[in-house]
């Protein structure tokens, strides 16, 4: 809302500009004699279109009261007065300057400049915004709420009149009206307590790019993480922990060349094996980084905060429904009772007054600290203490840059660094000092100097024998200094006056306990007994504190810190109205937290959902804009079987937890997801054992040639001879693989995918059907007479083979049906041709029958000999020797399933067989039916139920499809089925569940 300074004549950009300036000048000159007040000092207006009061009148008002009236709209025109705007302008222009003429009138009436925001013609606010109700002009009393109504409704209506066709607008309008109603409805109760005369309009501030949203807005999270300071600082700190690890990892045996430069430093006076731990810390980190760009502010009280400071901070817009008093009391009580934190209670009590800004100060300069301002204080309160306090905004890029420089600088000399946060670390100097034999403090000052020149920011360092004392020493050193807490000094005496709260791990509640036990400083603890301490604090804490108070701290520096938790939390702007919004937000938050998890290359086993719910007694609207107010915290967690970094798993877990919590969405004030029990992502996952197996196995056999081809083998039947051509699935030479990469678990899965892609290849690479020619080997094995026949009718055989090949895809060995009369040969042996007697076999397939037909036709022609295939079978079987085993008979009869038995995946050909059978025969021959039945029942016997089921199902279907009117077929099927069922009941004790049934009206 900064007003452009109306310095008039600075722009001489040509005639027109000159003219405008001249007009302004004339106006200024003309108005001088009439001037009555400086009410509108520094304000310039431009009137666009007809207004009430008219442009002329407004011009006069401006003349009389010290404002400027622009005849043309200029870049520095403060306000444009209008009553309506064309749609084009509404859409395209920055509307923050368009206000109603009423504003001028009201200013005059009140004798002061009132907030222009309620007079804005158009605002860009969205309905998704929170209940940002226009603050009410809180003048003296009664007509206030009326004024609201007077002023705003027209404003709300205008967009409608303008006829913006966008639904958005309509929605917006609805939202505004609702807000207005609410404001009017609720205002009288609270108005009395407030006696401010400014109209505050929060929503207007949100029309800019720095939009304040609620979590219901889908972009809220990303927007928030762009701005949240805690997020930045936290990620910075964690980042540096990792950075140190990385540095140590990369460094290897390399030396520290920079150490050479230290040789010139003062020699150490004594040689001892003392331990030196340095604690280095930037002074007022945020402030000093911020001051790099603002040297003019040095030496003044400075605070870094989001709040803009100045007038704004002591007079922030307050939500009309926010009941600060009630909330502050609640907060204070809670801090006192639950956390025994008097400071915070005090802070809250004094900070919540009236309309002061509740932004917290992230960091303040030493000058400001002198005035009693502390980090974490509310800006409003700080301004009361020190009205000249200057606030500067955050500069995250700067922090990152300076912090990196700090770490890099230290890392030149040693990598024994324990990162604490972005501007703070412990450094073990023992080996460095020992090796270079330099005076430790000389080194420290050299280092500090270097940091200062590189970053432009001061830092302080404390050196002592352990981490605790080093930190203490730093306190001594500040600001911009260094301090050696010599081990020779009386550490006990040094520690004695220290307040207990300075010790690590002592927070408000612990110090409260200690105070109750009469312990105030380290001296008290030193003088008391360990037992007493243990009873107060418990064993571990007690021992720890007892040691610390004596200045003993044997914790080593943690150089390589691994993250133990990853979390994402949001307790700002959480205002949901619907469960769907909440769920969407949870999804985003899960994504965010997973992203962080993946970034550090870890996986989590435990998911914890932290939910902050508005405390029952807390007001619905918080004093802090979009803050969480007084809350109860609920934690829910769940464990996952295998560590995961899968966003879907995490999201669904989180959603479940939220569902379990079963909280109304509008009561939520904060949500956090914490992932704990982290495991290394590179650890072998136990998820899919087969995957692992693959990794190992392909490693072992990677050089061996792959003899694939069993799977899905497609053999080409040399049809004329019914010989299953031996399949030659060429093993595909594998590309050499990197063994190392296979070792890593990550590679396993990738690898496996590769495998799966590759595997089908060798199997599908079938030798193309051979040229139609006769196989000499096969011929050689044929009985003499057949061979002669084949040779005699070579062309015919070949044509059959060819035609078969065209009609169908190269099919599996289809009819290795009959074995030769010398049955001694094992039927399954793939190398032996089973075709010797093929002429005689009973074929149920069409192709075979067709072939048969041809042959018999031919024979008929030649020999006039009519032979029916059935006849041949019958004859043949009859001719068989008596000792032939019935099983062999079965095989002879119709061993169509045989090729399937060893190869389940090849089972597809039974369909062809059945199909041909059913479609060929008008009426099933009893022998065929029996053969099928025998086949099927054989399957039961040989434990092939699974496959048998498929066969039966297919048979039933095909009969239904092709022979739906032939009751003979139906009976045949039912006959088979019945027999199967009774056999099943005998062997298994149950019937089979046949879902497929013959559908026939006639024969049921």
């Amino acid at each position: 809302m900064a007003r452009n300074e109306d310095n008039g004549f600075s722009e001489w950009g040509g005639y027109f500009e000159a003219k405008k300036s001249k007009l302004e000048e004339q106006f200024a000159a003309a108005s001088d004699p009439f001037r009555k007040s400086d009410l509108f000092e520094g304000i310039s207006i431009f009137v666009n279109g007809r207004t009430d009061p008219s442009a002329d009148e407004l011009k006069r008002i401006m003349m009389v009261h010290g404002g400027t009236f622009h005849h043309y709209e200029r870049s520095h025109t403060t306000y444009i007065i209008a009553s309506v705007l064309p749609d084009v302008k509404v859409r395209n222009m920055n509307l923050s300057k368009f206000i109603g003429a009423k504003w001028v009138v009201d200013c005059l009436a009140k004798g002061k400049i009132v907030d222009y925001k309620p007079y804005l013609l158009y605002t860009n606010q969205k309905t998704s915004q929170p209940k940002l109700i226009f603050g009410k002009p809180k003048d003296s009393s009664a007509n206030e709420s009326k004024l609201d109504v007077d002023v705003e409704p027209p404003k709300a209506k205008t967009p409608m009149e303008v006829g913006s066709s966008k639904d958005e607008m309509q929605l917006e309008l609805g939202g505004i009206l609702k807000e207005l109603q609410q404001a009017v409805a609720t205002s009288p109760a609270k108005e009395t307590s407030v006696s401010e005369s400014k109209i505050t309009n929060l929503s207007a501030t949100s029309s800019n790019s720095t939009t304040a949203r609620t979590a219901a807005d889908p972009n809220f999270l990303s927007e928030f993480y762009k701005n949240s300071r805690l997020h930045h600082i936290a990620t910075l700190g964690a980042g540096f922990k990792q950075y140190v690890c990385q540095l140590r990892l990369d460094h290897g045996d390399k030396g520290f060349p920079k150490r050479e430069t230290l040789k010139s430093l003062a020699r150490a006076e004594r040689h001892g094996s003392e331990r030196y731990v340095m604690h280095i810390d930037m002074d007022c980190f945020f402030v000093s980084v911020g001051l790099r760009a603002r040297p003019e502010l040095r030496g003044q009280p400075i605070a870094v905060t989001h709040s803009k400071g100045g007038n704004a901070a002591t007079d922030v817009p307050v939500h009309p429904q926010a009941d600060r008093k009630a909330e502050l009391e609640l907060f204070a009580q809670r801090f006192e009772h639950q956390f025994h934190d008097g400071d915070k209670a005090e802070k809250v009590r004094s900070g919540f007054e009236k309309k002061m800004s509740l932004s917290e100060i992230a960091s303040c300069s030493y000058e400001a600290r002198e005035k009693g301002i502390r980090n974490g204080m509310f800006v409003g309160q700080a301004l009361k203490l020190c009205p000249e306090l200057k606030t500067i905004p955050y500069d995250f890029e700067g922090y990152k840059e300076v912090a990196s420089t700090l770490y890099d600088t230290v890392a030149q000399y040693t990598l024994n660094i324990e990162a604490v946060s972005c501007d703070e670390m412990f450094v073990e100097l023992t080996d460095l000092v020992g090796e270079l034999n330099v005076d430790v403090m000389a080194f420290v000052s050299h280092l500090r100097q270097e940091v200062h020149t590189k970053t432009g920011c001061p830092c302080s360092a404390g050196v002592a024998g352990n981490k605790l004392l080093a930190r203490m020493a730093t306190k001594e050193a500040k600001p911009n200094g260094q301090f050696l807490l010599d081990a020779k000094k009386d550490i006990l005496a040094y520690m004695a006056p220290m307040s207990l709260e300075l010790l690590p791990g002592v927070g408000s509640s612990m110090s409260h306990k200690l105070k109750q036990a009469g312990l105030h400083n380290c001296g008290d603890v030193q003088n008391s007994s360990l037992e007493k301490l243990e009873t107060v604090l418990g064993k571990k804490l007690g021992q720890n504190l007892f040691q610390n108070c004596k200045g003993i701290d044997d914790r080593p520096l943690a150089y390589e810190q691994t993250r133990k938790t990853v979390s994402a939390e949001m307790n700002f702007g959480i205002r949901f109205t619907k469960t769907a919004e909440c769920e969407q937000f949870l999804r985003q938050l899960s994504e965010e937290v997973t992203k962080r998890l993946v970034e550090i290359k870890r996986k989590a086993r435990s998911i914890n959902l932290k939910i902050m719910v508005r405390a029952a007694e807390a007001p619905v609207e918080t004093s802090k804009y979009m803050g969480h107010g007084v809350c109860d915290t609920i934690n829910k967690s769940s464990l996952i079987k295998h560590a995961t970094d899968d966003v879907n798993v995490i999201t669904s877990m989180v959603l479940n937890l939220m569902k379990e919590a079963d909280l109304p969405p509008h009561e939520l004030r904060g949500i956090g997801i914490h992932l704990t029990k982290l495991e290394d992502a590179s650890e072998v996952r136990k998820e899919n054992i087969i995957k692992q197996m693959f990794g190992k196995m392909s490693e072992m056999k990677k050089d061996k040639p792959v003899t694939q081809g069993a799977v899905g083998e497609k053999s080409i039947s040399d049809d004329k001879a019914n010989k299953p051509a031996v399949v030659e699935a060429k093993p595909k030479p594998r590309e050499p693989r990197n063994v190392m990469s296979m070792l890593t678990a990550a590679a396993v899965s990738r690898k496996r995918d590769q495998l799966n892609e590759e595997n089908p290849k060798p199997t599908t690479r079938v030798v193309p059907p051979p040229e139609p020619q006769l196989d000499e080997d096969v011929l050689a094995q044929l009985p003499e007479d057949i061979r002669l026949e084949v040779l005699a009718h070579r062309e015919e055989y070949l044509s059959i083979a060819e035609c078969d090949g065209k009609v169908r895809k190269p099919a599996p060995p289809r009819y290795p049906t009959l074995n030769s009369p010398p049955l001694s040969k094992p039927h399954r042996s793939p190398t032996v041709s089973p075709l010797n007697a093929s002429d005689l076999k009973p074929s149920t397939s069409r192709a075979a029958v067709a072939r048969m037909q041809k042959r018999t036709d031919r024979k008929e022609q030649k020999q006039e000999q009519v032979i029916r295939s059935d006849q041949i079978v019958a004859d043949y079987i009859e001719d068989l020797p008596k000792f032939v085993h019935p099983n062999i008979l079965k095989i002879i009869a119709k061993p169509k399933e045989v090729p399937k038995v060893p190869e389940l995946l090849m089972g597809a050909n039974y369909k062809d067989l059945l199909n041909e059978w059913v479609s060929r025969e008008e009426v099933p021959k009893p022998t065929d039916v029996d053969l099928i039945h025998q086949q099927v029942s054989h399957m039961i016997g040989s434990d092939q139920l699974n496959h048998m089921y498929d066969v039966m199902k297919y048979l039933c279907r095909i009969i239904n499809a092709k022979r739906s009117s032939s009751c003979c077929w139906h009976l045949a099927y039912k006959h088979i089925e019945e027999n199967i069922q009774s056999q099943m009941f005998e062997t298994e004790g149950y019937n089979l569940l046949f879902i497929e049934n013959i559908r026939c009206m006639k024969c049921t």
Partner: protein
């Protein structure tokens, strides 16, 4: 080590099958299942912690029995009222002495598992749906008396205790129970069938 891996593979297969059956039969609402990639095909696996815990317990015991080669069958029993079994799904293990399948058979095994799973869905599709929400299920492990006694004395399996199932004759007449072969995974000697009151 080899036996260990073999039993791991088997247990994993069981886990998948049990999840699959429960999903296909709608014992639980379908939204507790999430698609997961197993055997290179999408499988519905439960994300409902209580169930997962239960199944984990079952499988842990099953694995132990498997390791000792004492597990004969894992049976899922779906019932509405106790003693009135509606459906029983048996995952039977056939004695297999070759132990771990040869390495290149693992691909086959995966494929077989895949086709078994598809086959199950396909066959179960035709079976009438169970009344939604009113069915429960339990798991039986078939083993020998001796193995059971030994097993129940081991302290590490105490927290997931097993009871010996009573051999009660079901009231449902035998004739109405039909057997539906579901799948067969030859490489692992695994056979699955369902007994359904139909």
């Amino acid at each position: 080590m080899q036996a260990e891996i073999a039993s791991d593979i088997m247990v994993e297969a069981m886990e998948v099958l049990v999840n699959h059956i429960l999903y296909v039969r709608g014992i639980y609402p379908s939204h507790i299942f999430k698609i997961k990639r197993m055997y290179n095909s999408p499988i519905f696996v439960s994300i409902y912690p209580p169930f997962n815990n239960y199944l984990a317990g079952v499988l842990k015991s099953a694995q132990e029995l498997l390791r000792r080669r004492e597990l004969q069958c894992l049976e899922i029993i779906v019932y509405q009222k106790e003693n009135e079994k509606l459906e029983r799904y048996k995952i039977q293990l056939e004695a297999q002495d070759c132990g771990l399948p040869a390495e290149d058979q693992l691909t086959d095994f995966e494929q077989e598992m895949r086709s078994a799973i598809y086959q199950i869905s396909q066959r179960m599709n035709q079976v009438p749906k169970l009344p939604a929400g009113s069915c429960q299920f339990k798991v039986h492990l078939h083993t020998t008396q001796e193995a059971f006694i030994r097993f129940s004395q081991e302290s590490q399996y105490q927290e997931f205790p097993w009871l010996q199932a009573q051999k009660t004759e079901s009231q449902v007449p035998r004739r109405t129970i039909s057997l539906l072969p579901l799948a067969k995974v030859k490489d692992m000697g695994l056979k699955m069938e369902a007994l359904i009151v139909y």
